[in-house]
C-alpha cells in the first residue's frame, strides 16, 4: 500500500475543509472564531491566511443569524459551511435549522433545496460541564429533512465534508471533541466516502455492538477485550444517524443474534431507543436475548472528572453489557 500519512482527526477535518475550498469557489466557511483565532478547536487554523476573509468569515456571536445566513446563502447559489462552536450553542439556531433548513423543500412543494453544511462539536470528556458537553445529535436525527452524520474515523473526518457539500439537502456534521487528537495512518490520496451507510468496523459472530462518533473507539476497545475472553463482537459504526442504515444493522443482528447499542446521548426518547425499536420491528425473531444499551446517564453532564466519567459510556460498561448478553 503506497502513500499513507500519519494524521490526527483535527488535521483530517482541516484537510477536508481545504479540499472543499480549493475545489469549489462557491464554498466558504463561517462561524465564531473560525478565522483569526483559527477555530476554537484549531480545526480551521491557517485557512484564513490561505483563503482570505471573504471565504473564511468570522461572525459575531449570533448563532441564529449566521446559521440562517448559511441557509439563505445556500438557497441563493452558494455552498456554505457553517461552524457552530458546540452543539449546545446550536440550540440558539434551532429555529433556523428546524423551521427553515429542514422544512423548505417539502413546504415549497419541492421547489427549493438547502445545500448547507453545518458542522459542530459534540460530546463530553473534557470537564466542560453541562453547557458544553452534551450529545444532542439524536435530537437532530429526529427531524425529517436533515441528514445527520458523525465521522468517527480519520477517513470520515476528512471525506464526509466534501460528500456533504455535494448533497442538495442540509447536512449536519457532528464532530466529537475527544476525537480531535486521535492519530492514525490513512491513505495520502483522499478517497470519496459516502454519507449514506453504516460500516462494519470489526467483524464478529456473537454480539453486535452498534455505535457512532465518540463512542466508536471505546467500543472497538471493548470488542478487543471481549475477544480475549473468547467473545466475538461485531462493531457497527452508524456514520449516518439520519437516515439510519437499517439494512446494515439488521444484517449484523441477524448474524450475531444479540445487540448492544452504545450512545453518549440519553436513553429516554433518544437515538438508542430508535435503533432498538428498529431492531425489534425488523429482527425480533433473530434475537437470542433482549437488546441492551450503554448510554449517557440521565443527568446534565457534570464537571468533576469522576462524575463525568460515570455519566458517559466507558469500555468496562460496554464489555459488561455484552458479556451479560452472551453468558
Amino acid at each position: 500500500m503506497s502513500g499513507t500519512v500519519r494524521i490526527n482527526y483535527r488535521d483530517a477535518l482541516r484537510q477536508g475543509l481545504r479540499e472543499a475550498l480549493l475545489r469549489d469557489p462557491r464554498v466558504f466557511l463561517m462561524g465564531e472564531d473560525v478565522g483569526r483565532y483559527g477555530g476554537s478547536y484549531a480545526v480551521s487554523k491557517g485557512l484564513l491566511e490561505e483563503f482570505g476573509d471573504e471565504r473564511i468569515r468570522d461572525t459575531p456571536l449570533s448563532e441564529s443569524a449566521f446559521v440562517g445566513a448559511g441557509i439563505g446563502a445556500a438557497l441563493n447559489g452558494m455552498r456554505p459551511i457553517v461552524e457552530v462552536m458546540t452543539v449546545n450553542f446550536s440550540l440558539l439556531a434551532l429555529d433556523q435549522i428546524m423551521n427553515n433548513a429542514a422544512t423548505l423543500r417539502h413546504m415549497s412543494g419541492g421547489q427549493l433545496n438547502v445545500p448547507v453544511v453545518i458542522r459542530m462539536t459534540t460530546g463530553a470528556g473534557r470537564q466542560l460541564a453541562a453547557q458544553h458537553s452534551h450529545s444532542l445529535e439524536g435530537w437532530y436525527a429526529h427531524i425529517p429533512g436533515l441528514r445527520i452524520v458523525a465521522p468517527a474515523t480519520l477517513e470520515d473526518a476528512r471525506g464526509m465534508l466534501f460528500t456533504a457539500l455535494q448533497d442538495p439537502d442540509p447536512v449536519l456534521i457532528f464532530e466529537h471533541a475527544l476525537l480531535l487528537n486521535v492519530e492514525g495512518d490513512i491513505a495520502a490520496d483522499p478517497q470519496p466516502v459516502d454519507i449514506d451507510y453504516a460500516a462494519v468496523r470489526r467483524e464478529g459472530t456473537d454480539v453486535s455492538l452498534i455505535t457512532y462518533g465518540g463512542s466508536l473507539l471505546k467500543t472497538m476497545q471493548a470488542a478487543a477485550e471481549l475477544a480475549e475472553d473468547g467473545v466475538s463482537a461485531e462493531v457497527i459504526d452508524l456514520r449516518t444517524l439520519r437516515p439510519l442504515d437499517d439494512a446494515t444493522i439488521v444484517a449484523s443482528v441477524a448474524k450475531t443474534h444479540r445487540a448492544v447499542i452504545v450512545d453518549e446521548g440519553w436513553k429516554s426518547g433518544g437515538l438508542s431507543a430508535e435503533i432498538m425499536a428498529r431492531i425489534l420491528e425488523q429482527a425480533f425473531y433473530e434475537l437470542d436475548a433482549p437488546p441492551a444499551r450503554v448510554c449517557g446517564a440521565e443527568v446534565p453532564v457534570p464537571y468533576a472528572k469522576h462524575l463525568e466519567d460515570a455519566a458517559i459510556p466507558q469500555v468496562a460498561g460496554i464489555v459488561a453489557a455484552a458479556r451479560n448478553l452472551v453468558k
Partner: protein, 330 residues
C-alpha cells in the same frame, strides 16, 4: 401628483387585486374551503404594491405569513395561490404550504415564513451570496413590527450592516403583534432608531400612501443596489381585519379601526388620482371587472383542482433519496 398615468393605473390595479382576492379568501374560508390560519393583508395593500415595482426580477423577496398580497404583486398567478389555499396539488406548493407558505422560485419569491423574524437571517444570507458573487441583485425582506422584538431581528441587522450586505429591511408596522400593541411590547417605539443603532440607514414612511411607499422604496433600492449596505424602511400601516380568522379582535377599539379605515389606501389613492385626472371612472370599473374575472377564474381553478395522492407524502422531504448502490469505501 407625482406619478404617470400608467403607473397610477398599475398601483390601483394591484391594490384592487389584493383587496378583492382576500375578500374572496375570507368568504370561502367561512364556507370551509380554506382551512388553517388565514392572515389578511386588507388595509396594508399600499406597502407591497408600492415596494414591489421597484425590485427587479433577479432580486429576492422574502415575506411573512401575511403574504398573499406580496405573492400576487410579485407575479404569482391568483390561480396557483388559491389552489394552494384549497390544498390542491395545482397550488404553488402542491398544497404542502397553504396560506402562510407561498413560494415561487421562478419569481425568486421565497415565502411565506410563519415564524416571526424567521426569514430575516435567511435574507442576510441571500444578500451575502449576492455580495460574494458580485451581482447587483438585492434581497427585500418584509416583516412586521412584532419581529423587531425578536433577537433574530437584532442579530440580522447587525450582521447585514457589519458586512454591508445588499438587504432591504421592510418593516410593516401595523401597530399590533397579533393582539399586543407596540406600546405594550417595545421599550422604544421608534423603530428607525433601532436600525440606526446598527448603523443602518433608516426611513419611516406612510404605509397607507402607495406613492410615498414607492418613492421611499425607489431611494432605498438604489442605495442598496449601489453597494452602500442595508437599508431599513418602517412602513406605517394598519390591518383592517383581525390578525387571523380565529381572532375575535378584542384588543383594539372599533373607533380606532374605523378611523384607520377612513385612510383606506385604495380609496385615498383613487380619489387623488381622479382629482389629478389620471384615472377615469371607466378605468376603475374595468379594473374591478378584470379583477372579479381573475378571482372567479382562480376559484374555479382551485375548485377543479385535484388532491396530491397521499402516496407522494414523503416525496420532497429530501432532494436526494439514499443511493441504491453503495459507493466508495468507508
Amino acid at each position: 401628483m407625482n406619478v404617470g398615468r400608467e403607473q397610477a393605473l398599475a398601483y390601483l390595479r394591484q391594490m384592487t387585486r389584493i383587496r378583492r382576492f382576500e375578500e374572496k379568501c375570507a368568504e370561502v374560508y367561512s364556507a370551509g374551503k380554506i382551512r388553517g390560519f388565514l392572515h389578511l393583508y386588507i388595509g396594508e395593500e399600499a406597502v407591497a404594491c408600492g415596494v414591489m415595482p421597484e425590485l427587479s426580477r433577479e432580486d429576492a423577496v422574502l415575506a411573512t405569513y401575511r403574504e398573499h398580497g406580496h405573492a400576487l404583486v410579485r407575479g404569482m398567478p391568483a390561480r396557483s395561490i388559491m389552489a394552494e389555499m384549497y390544498g390542491k396539488q395545482e397550488g404553488c406548493c402542491r398544497g404542502h404550504g397553504g396560506s402562510m407558505h407561498l413560494f415561487d422560485a421562478s419569481l425568486r419569491f421565497f415565502g411565506g415564513n410563519a415564524i416571526v423574524a424567521g426569514a430575516l437571517p435567511m435574507a442576510v444570507g441571500f444578500g451575502l451570496a449576492d455580495r460574494m458573487r458580485r451581482t447587483t441583485h438585492i434581497t427585500a425582506c418584509f416583516f412586521g413590527e412584532g419581529a423587531v422584538a425578536e433577537g433574530e431581528f437584532h442579530e440580522s441587522a447587525n450582521l447585514a450592516s457589519l458586512w454591508k450586505l445588499p438587504v432591504l429591511f421592510l418593516c410593516e408596522n401595523n401597530l399590533y403583534a397579533m393582539g399586543t400593541s407596540i406600546e405594550r411590547s417595545e421599550a422604544d417605539t421608534d423603530l428607525c432608531e433601532k436600525a440606526r443603532s446598527y448603523r443602518i440607514t433608516a426611513a419611516s414612511v406612510d404605509g397607507m400612501d402607495v406613492l410615498a411607499v414607492g418613492e421611499a422604496a425607489r431611494a432605498a433600492v438604489a442605495y442598496v443596489r449601489a453597494g452602500n449596505g442595508p437599508y431599513f424602511i418602517e412602513l406605517k400601516t394598519y390591518r383592517f381585519r383581525a390578525h387571523s380568522m380565529f381572532d375575535p379582535d378584542l384588543y383594539r377599539s372599533k373607533a380606532e379601526v374605523e378611523a384607520w379605515k377612513h385612510r383606506c389606501p385604495i380609496e385615498a389613492f383613487k380619489t387623488r388620482a381622479q382629482e389629478a385626472g389620471l384615472i377615469a371612472d371607466a378605468e376603475i370599473a374595468a379594473i374591478e371587472a378584470d379583477t372579479a374575472a381573475e378571482i372567479q377564474d382562480a376559484l374555479a381553478f382551485a375548485e377543479a383542482g385535484t388532491l396530491e395522492p397521499a402516496l407522494n407524502l414523503t416525496r420532497d422531504v429530501y432532494a436526494r433519496e439514499r443511493r441504491v448502490v453503495k459507493v466508495g469505501a468507508s
